[in-house]
């Protein structure tokens, strides 16, 4: 039986095929069940009908391009091995509910799955999450395109009970993975900073400095309207041709209130120290 299966799979699916599928033998998938055609059966099933009528009958489990099993059936094949540890929260995850199959993102017939490399992972993620791709093409962004930050550094696409499928228990904890200096606790806290970094920052990219969701000083004025300068309208007369306003130009509010994430200076109640 084994020799027949070996003959049937690799006799037709040869290295001369246009699609270079034999690279699978350079990774773990091509070595399942001892390798060879037995490895094919490991994922595609025994596929007896397909072996007898190769052009008319689909393999038991097929991932395309000619035949497709349902996303659930495709993923079940992968989960037989991968649910263990890494995919234990797949059931109920956002991608599972949206009927994304494992092969929608992952490739088994390659030497190295592009999804495990930070330099190539984002291309796949952003092919669906087009708003993130647009944001990541703006001037202020994380180094995702350069492969220094991967989507999976922050998000767990295989299932997470945190908001937005984040890897860490909270959004701020996710940010603190790389920005531990912002964790504090500070003596004088800036209230929104303590609960949600995304109140002021868009981690996927922005046209404003430091990935801010909107331009300062207007971002600050959304929440600060104290008497005198914080409450004043900042407009065109404050440009260099007019009255060069310190509250509008350069670092504006942050020229003085630079410790905006919190201050541990005894005189830092106004985030200036």
């Amino acid at each position: 039986q084994q020799s027949e299966a070996v003959k049937q799979c690799l006799d037709c699916h040869q290295q001369s095929a246009e699609q270079p599928i034999h690279a699978i033998f350079q990774n773990a998938h091509g070595n399942l069940n001892g390798g060879g055609s037995q490895a094919c059966i490991g994922c595609h099933g025994e596929s007896l009908d397909h072996r007898t009528q190769p052009t008319a009958q689909a393999p038991l489990v097929s991932f395309g391009p000619k035949w497709f099993n349902s996303a659930e059936q495709q993923s079940e094949t992968c989960l037989d091995c991968h649910q263990k540890h890494t995919g234990s929260l797949w059931q109920g995850s956002m991608h599972q509910q949206e009927e994304v199959a494992c092969v929608g993102c992952h490739s088994a017939h390659v030497v190295e799955d592009p999804m495990v490399s930070a330099t190539t992972q984002a291309d796949t993620c952003m092919s669906c999450h087009s708003d993130v791709r647009s944001a990541n093409m703006l001037a202020s962004r994380h180094p995702i395109a350069e492969g220094m930050v991967a989507c999976s550094d922050c998000h767990n696409p295989h299932g997470s009970l945190s908001e937005s499928s984040l890897t860490q228990p909270t959004l701020n904890d996710t940010c603190f993975q790389c920005h531990a200096e912002k964790r504090g606790p500070f003596v004088f806290e800036h209230a929104p900073v303590t609960e949600d970094c995304s109140t002021c920052h868009n981690p996927h990219g922005s046209m404003h400095d430091n990935m801010l969701v909107s331009k300062t000083p207007f971002l600050c004025q959304q929440c600060h309207s104290a008497a005198f300068h914080p409450s004043q309208p900042l407009e065109g007369s404050g440009l260099p041709a007019g009255n060069s306003s310190a509250y509008l130009l350069s670092k504006n509010c942050l020229s003085c209130h630079s410790q905006i994430h919190g201050s541990s200076h005894p005189s830092g109640s106004k985030m200036t120290r």
Binding site: P65, E146, G159, L161, G184, C223, P240, N252
Partner: protein, 736 residues
């Protein structure tokens, strides 16, 4: 001609070049050289290609699979960008279903603006001015008196050196041990603002080249147990941040008379940089599949973060008498508890229910102390009534979601959900916000090749009473508060609502269409629109709108030519209302003024409606010659962004201007073309050309020189405008 490196292919091999290269070789190394036409900021923001001139190209991979007769099955060594300041090295070794060890070293460099200038020199832990510095009372005079001293560029560059070691070991079919260690050193310079001041009107600020020097260490260990119908994973995470510079000291460049010991040359300011901190986190994750119908997923964590860095003195101005600090250090402690659960009930093959609960609690147990108020190093009142208090913030969130979904014919699934979210806050202007969230979703494949997803969501958030005077009461001393009239007991305007604490109605709609025309054409459309109305807000953020639309196409012309195209439109706009209120002299928080009539004068209202719009366009493709010896791939990205801050209006007060700000345009083009010629299976030549163009005209930096702003000694940083050409030529040799 096997010994000739430029010998032509053996075209008699029946396999494709790609297959031969993938299957027959254990890796490759790439060596070459490139040239960058000009130093830049945006193109080389993160990739190390920010300096003009020649650079070396060096990358490689060496891997082996099915290693026999050893305790491991595979290994790989990878190196990237060895000729640049951003580079990485990786070594991985492992055995299937046994263990995996990965050691990764990365040098990450982020380049910020480099057009700024500064007179400050970093000496003995402080930023000092040159000996021949001539002080003045404003930035304009400083700039003209000290042109030579100021004309020193400083680059905002931050480098992170990371060493990461990841290891996991499968003890048997059920148990896995894993651990991870990360050490990161961060070093560099960034621009920071700092000021001396008696009050806000008399602030004297300077943009400083602040040095960064810190280390973050992370250790994580966990053990997982897995069975087909249940699993549990317990982990411990330790994170430690150490800042080598606990303070930033700088010399006051101004001669302004803000009190004794403040002005140049004795005036020294001091900022507390981020304090050292550490965190211990324990986490438990798992699931239990009761049967084919019921499943429970769960995740819980508890973390404690501490900082106990020694407190700096109230001021470094020795001329100011200060009281004793409350303690030697701030014994800050924040604990974070989370508990999340998800119950899935598959009633039938078509009907599914799901319930989720999420609890997040940030409990700040840090002390609340009275601190002497030392205003801008120029005034230090001794009376206890002038003390200020820190206000540790705590927050507790509960989110409950119920969802049902039903399958219809034609691969259609309908889903409906309701969620309730409550956030309780402490030391905030609003104690409780409650939100109802309703959502409908449709996923369908109504015909062959067509995929449709649609979503409609409505959120309604209600806030408890807005305690507009809360920040005032929490900051100041009771004795001082009692002396201040009721009408003056606020920091923000009483009618201002902070948007993240406010009533809000939000609509969100989303649509995805995907259509496969034939084996060669595939198109998708994605769009979403969100409208947030802060319906009870009078002053502050009144509403927000967010648009996104993306059209993408994949075109497989034939097996040797593929193309993708996309075009996207994004817009974010909001409406912000304010009321300008002054009333004479700049307010000193500790002095008592008559009530401000302007605060209740609606004629002083103003509004601004910023709009950020961006259009992104991209295309990429690949072509392989018929002989398969030549490969071309190309990519073009265009981003056009526009930020408007127009429609400024006011309620009619004569002293308020309403001049619109100019638009800000950011244009970015990036062309990246590579040609790969395979001389032999194991030898290829690669030619890469990139063109990058970026320009912006942000009014915050346009025509703003070192002395342009009255009391801000700026850096003169100007807008980035660059045009970069890059050419790279390299040889790729594949390892047998």
């Amino acid at each position: 001609q096997p010994d000739d490196p430029f010998a032509f292919y053996n075209l008699t091999d029946y396999r494709s070049v790609q297959t031969r290269q993938l299957v027959d070789y254990s890796g490759y190394f790439e060596l070459g050289a490139g040239y960058i036409s000009e130093s830049n900021e945006q193109f080389g923001q993160y990739n190390g290609l920010d300096e003009d001139g020649v650079f070396a190209i060096g990358s490689g991979v060496w891997r082996n699979w099915q290693v026999e007769d050893y305790w491991f099955d595979y290994y790989s060594v990878k190196a990237n960008d060895l000729g640049l300041d951003t580079l990485s090295l990786n070594f991985t070794i492992g055995a299937v279903q046994n263990f995996k060890l990965a050691v990764n070293w990365q040098q990450l460099r982020s380049r910020g603006p480099s057009s700024g200038k500064t007179p400050f020199r970093y000496e003995q832990g402080a930023l000092t001015l040159p000996e021949n510095w001539q002080a003045a009372n404003n930035a304009s005079e400083l700039a003209s008196l000290n042109q030579q001293e100021i004309d020193r560029r400083f680059s905002q560059v931050v480098q992170r050196d990371q060493l990461t070691i990841d290891f996991h070991h499968d003890i048997d079919e059920a148990w896995r041990l894993r651990s991870s260690v990360k050490h990161e050193k961060r070093d560099g310079t960034r621009a920071t603002g700092a000021a001396f001041f008696a009050n806000a009107q008399n602030g004297h600020s300077a943009i400083l080249p602040a040095k960064l020097d810190s280390t973050t260490k992370t250790f994580e260990a966990g053990v997982g147990y897995y069975q087909p119908n249940y699993a549990a994973d317990v982990s411990y995470l330790y994170s430690e941040f150490e800042n080598d510079d606990y303070a930033l000291r700088w010399q006051n460049p101004y001669s302004a008379n803000l009190g004794p010991g403040v002005a140049y040359d004795t005036g020294i300011g001091q900022i507390a940089t981020e304090p050292d901190n550490d965190m211990h986190q324990f986490r438990l994750t798992g699931f239990y599949q009761l049967n084919d119908q019921w499943r429970i997923n769960a995740d819980a964590s508890y973390a404690v973060a501490n900082q106990d860095t020694a407190l700096l003195p109230y001021t470094s101005n020795l001329a100011l008498p200060t009281t004793a600090l409350p303690d030697r250090s701030f014994d800050g402690e924040v604990s974070t508890t989370t508990a999340k659960a998800q119950v899935i009930y598959r009633a039938t093959n078509k009907l599914k229910f799901q319930a989720g609960y999420r609890y997040e609690d940030r409990d700040n147990d840090s002390p609340r102390w009275a601190w002497q108020s030392v205003t801008g190093d120029s005034w230090a009142p001794q009376d206890e009534k002038y003390q200020v208090y820190n206000a540790p913030h705590s927050r507790s969130l509960q989110h409950l979601q119920l969802e049902g979904s039903y399958r219809l014919p034609k691969s259609t699934r309908l889903s409906a959900s309701y969620a309730y979210e409550e956030i309780d806050r402490y030391n905030h202007a609003v104690e409780t916000t409650e939100e109802d969230i309703f959502e409908l979703r449709v996923n369908s494949r109504p015909m062959v090749g067509l995929n449709v997803r649609a979503q409609l969501q409505y959120k309604d958030r209600g806030a408890s009473t807005y305690q507009w005077d809360q920040s005032f009461y929490s900051l100041y001393d009771t004795a001082l508060i009692n002396e201040i009239p009721d009408s003056q007991r606020y920091s923000n305007h009483p009618r201002l609502s902070q948007h993240y604490l406010s009533n809000r109605e939000q609509w969100h709609s989303q649509l995805h269409l995907g259509y496969v025309f034939n084996a060669r054409w595939h198109m998708t459309f994605d769009g979403h629109y969100q409208d947030s109305d802060y319906d009870a807000t009078e002053l502050g953020l009144a509403n927000e709108k967010l648009w996104h639309a993306n059209l993408a196409a994949n075109w497989y012309t034939h097996e040797r030519l593929t193309q993708t195209f996309y075009v996207a439109f994004d817009r974010y706009e909001y409406e912000l209302w304010g009321r300008a209120f002054t009333g004479g002299a700049e307010k000193n928080a500790f002095e008592i003024y008559p009530p401000l009539p302007q605060a209740s004068d609606a004629r002083r209202d103003w509004t601004i409606e910023p709009e950020d719009t961006s259009v992104t366009l991209g295309t990429s493709g690949e072509w392989i010659s018929e002989s398969k010896l030549l490969e071309l791939d190309w990519q073009y990205q265009l981003t056009l962004s526009d930020s408007e801050h127009s429609n400024l209006a006011n309620g009619g007060a004569a002293d308020l201007s309403a001049i619109a700000l100019p638009d800000i345009n950011q244009d970015q083009h990036h062309v990246d073309v590579s040609a790969l010629y395979h001389f032999r299976d194991d030898l290829s030549l690669k030619l890469n050309y990139q063109y990058f163009r970026y320009s912006t005209d942000d009014w915050a930096y346009a025509n703003v020189g070192v002395g342009s702003i009255d009391k801000v000694l700026g850096s003169g940083q100007h807008n980035t405008n660059e045009q970069v050409h890059l050419v790279g030529l390299s040889v790729i040799y594949r390892l047998p």
